[in-house]
Symmetry: D2
Subunit: 336 residues, 4 copies
């Protein structure tokens, strides 16, 4: 198996996670990691070059594939620079918050002829993948309804919220992608209700912490995404797809398959609390898929269009909440 | 225990169900049943007078309490006649589809000083009552979100649909009441999406068979009701209330607590298919409650205001779908 | 439908339960109840004769069917007297604790040509009946293992224990019948371990409160029954049948299908605590079956042989525990 | 963190599994693997010496810790040679099938002052560990009953069975260890029933494929282990511990937390089929624990006494089945 030489831009929490996973992967070599702010003391190991300058990765001709794990405002620029340098790109979501900027970036990627995969890792979760399979195999017939429950265990700090683009672009964006993934259809119209019920500071920052977003899909089905920034019992990630032949549901993962029965009640374990734990398998699988696409010259299953469509859905939801009426989701336009 | 002499108007499916339940109840005597179309051959037994004329019930001074189980267009008139005759009234939902007509009826009831209970039986289901208790006892803190899944096993005939008032007044009305019951709040604004995905004839009749209705509640919480006219795996009736301290969920009832494990998979029983089976306990409990209120001179827990508010919510949802924008729910006005 | 006139001997808890159920049944009339110790003030109603003398029931020619709900030592005698009087008999378990006495009783029943059903109500429970159906329909193939968990919520008083015949004849007897019912095979050998872990007084009374009984069945399969007199979380009644094609399991019933999720854990309802609640449906169903057999002249599905075999299994287990080695279960002998 | 240099004896399925896990572990270096029959083409990588001769591992002074993954008859000898060479030892179960041989081996280990951990990996499974925690923390009070369901997905070939020592020493041995682990007590007496229900060849080889083993424990509690060589629906590994304050149960792991609802039923995923998948986390955790004990000079949590006691329990069960009466389990004697 051919070894793919790789570099990482951005060594924060997610960059380091990907790096650790790559170090344990067969057929992939991590050559360089660039981050102006990272603490490289305990990571990533002697054989890997580290430094502040992105050129450590972008200008190294031996590096074939780049993982972009830096802050959102840098994504589009780094994608373009990597593409122009002939490197395949895996980029964390979102590509950018401006659809036109995304389109320009995708045009550059297309021109360069490199591969681009966007980090919608949840598609690679074994549980959600099984629901997708039920849909794809026709086990539940034609799709009528998609329902997503997506609740974080703890609200982020209000100052993070202020720079996040808002709940629909920061949190719901994953769920929009899941609706598209599970239904195999596009989101054509969105209506969103929001409320500030958890942290008034989130409201002061102009955002909401609780949201209920409904959608019409291009295949005629309806969908709903329900979000909360704080589920005190743990990270709550469930989906249901309902169709003409039945329903497929995904439940939460727990750390142990245990039940306690006492006079106080019958209890089971809380869901895994932290997204890195909950989605551990998906983070490995999305990278293995990306590297397999690079190796075998195949199109990545989560592409630029997916990156674009989740953003335009998030923008439509943001606007819908602001004006309190349904908003038509921008069509992808002529995709590069 | 004092025996309450009772009569029934309307001996269709639901009237007969209530009658059968009364015949097994202590402290309640069924004296007369009136229905111009009923087949009384096998029911209700020798000691009960039967006939076509509603006066068999309404003009019998010995009858203290009347159950109105006739078609919707007769409800308001029968309530008023029973009230004027000094009889306590249990009436199936809805009181009427016209809020003004409902208000006039409630005024008559008030003037007569009789009791009126509306047939929102689901409030008396042990499972939903347990969720309500979790809310009322503060087990899940302040309410943030209410979610209702309400799917019938089979779509009704299109001609029934044509005269039903539409899905929001025929089917969702129960769910609006459940939102109000569980949250303890009023519905202040509604947005509804609908689709025809099951039976084109339902679309031809001007209705939808699939709907997604979102709401703002008076306590700031959000709610969603999701409806389908056809869930091939059985009657699907679930709720979830999510709050600052946790979540309370209600699941479907099954006919047997059994699991089969074979090489084909691990399977459990389909939910109870028929609403009369699913809600059997609630039908008995709502009548026992009604008769207890009559006996003890207490206010019924599901009253005229509840009957009115579910209808105005249904009308708002109907209009929201038609105009595709959120619609403010009419306030109850000065309640009689 | 022909009405069957019925009498009850013994108006304790179980006699009263059956009586209440009969009063709500179509096609069955309760004419007399005899019990020297019962309080008939609030029960069974004006139309039913009550008194101390069993002849009130046994000597009334209009009574076709008798329910024997009196203490165990009276069962065999009452069965014989009812049979000789030409009455069909439903008798609570056990018929007697002496197999020879049982055989003589069954011979009398046979000679009289009346029907006898023994009160192993759990066979009529919808959940256990569904497991039986899985076995009977071949859904799980040839039977290899039967497992029964049977735990009471609370230990009986030690003085009850002293006169109960011991745990294997008082409690496990139901489970022996369940093993036979589910497997369709006879118990051929038993080994039992017992322990006193809950109440030392039970030990002082010569009994155990915790037991583990294993068995060989006539079809080559193995079985285990595990008993405890005290499960603090509620009445625990589960079975599993495992075979060449899979497994069928029965779980506990709960009062509400509810789940609470909080930071403390995910909890569901405790099992129904009381056996009258848990097996409510089965008590009605076993009587309906008995009366249908009388009406249609069919053999009751739980007969004298079933009554005998559960007792001989209980005796074998009692002896096995005493001598601490496996004990062969007495064969039914030439059944009357 | 100090790096521990390690060698492996035996590169079959389990040796290779451990080797792969070590290669991904921090603080452990794999220096040599010896196996006369292994195919080293694709494994274990360039930096590791491989060969047929065990001295490649045993005579290398740089190797501090040895994993013994070779066939059972070699275990005791390799443990002794490694111990004499001053190496810490992790050995797959069983140490030997002869308790005296085990005792001599343990004496050698003691004399050498090295650490010995036995490969009862299931103790390290997160689910079983959670049950143990419930017991240890007193959540379920005093232990009354332990129940273990242990069913393999597929029967091994009959020729494997012939040399396996029989089901009680090959398969139940893990469950005996689990009984001891969960209860914190010793097994004092065993009774075992066995049957040949799956493969007659297993019977011809003198073994059984289905077994029901009951036990008395040193704390007065009772236990049962139920084994089958073939559960067609997957690897079935469940435990329940029942005590004075409640019950703790462990259920099977599934590959995806998914439920499908169709008109055919409600279905979930089959349990993980293969033990290497099911116990993946435990294999990593047991080694991490072993290396931590070596590094920190602590006593391994699964020691020689654990290795001995599971074997004497297995021998007692084997004998009990042969003579069909309860057999007292040999006491550990004076442990080295």
């Amino acid at each position: 198996m051919k070894t793919i030489t790789t570099g990482i831009l951005g060594a924060g929490r997610i960059g380091r996670l990907h790096g650790d996973n790559i170090l344990r992967m067969n057929g992939v070599a991590l050559k360089a990691v660039a981050d102006p702010y990272a603490d490289f003391e305990s990571w990533p190991g002697a054989a890997v070059a580290t430094g502040e300058d992105p050129d450590l990765v972008l200008s190294d001709d031996a590096i074939e594939a780049v993982l972009i794990c830096s802050p959102t405002p840098t994504h589009a620029d780094f994608i373009e620079r990597a593409a122009v340098a002939g490197k395949h790109v895996f980029c964390e979501k979102p590509i950018d918050l401006d659809p036109d900027r995304i389109r320009r970036t995708l045009a550059t990627v297309k021109e360069a002829g490199v591969k681009l995969q966007v980090g919608f890792n949840r598609r690679f979760d074994p549980t959600f993948a099984r629901v997708k399979k039920a849909v794809a195999d026709g086990e539940i017939g034609d799709i009528h309804l998609v329902k997503i429950t997506s609740r974080d265990p703890e609200a982020p700090p209000a100052d993070y919220v202020a720079s996040s683009g808002g709940i629909f672009l920061d949190m719901t964006i994953h769920d929009f992608d899941m609706v598209r993934f599970l239904s195999g259809a596009e989101i054509v119209e969105v209506h969103a209700y929001g409320a500030v019920l958890i942290d008034p500071e989130i409201g002061n920052a102009g955002d909401v912490d609780t949201a209920m977003t409904t959608m019409r899909l291009s295949n005629g089905a309806l969908a709903v995404i329900e979000n909360s920034r704080q589920a005190v019992y743990g990270y709550d990630q469930r989906v249901e797809v309902f169709g003409s032949k039945g329903s497929a549901e995904a439940f939460n993962e727990v750390p142990a398959q245990v039940r306690l029965s006492t006079s106080e009640g019958i209890s089971t374990e809380n869901p895994l609390y932290f997204f890195l734990e909950r989605y551990q398998a998906s983070f490995i699988s999305e990278l293995e898929t990306f590297f397999a696409c690079v190796r075998d010259d195949k199109a990545p299953p989560v592409d630029g269009r997916d990156g674009l469509m989740s953003v335009v859905a998030g923008l439509a939801a943001t606007r819908s909440r602001a004006v309190n009426r349904p908003v038509v989701v921008e069509s992808p336009g002529e995709m590069p």
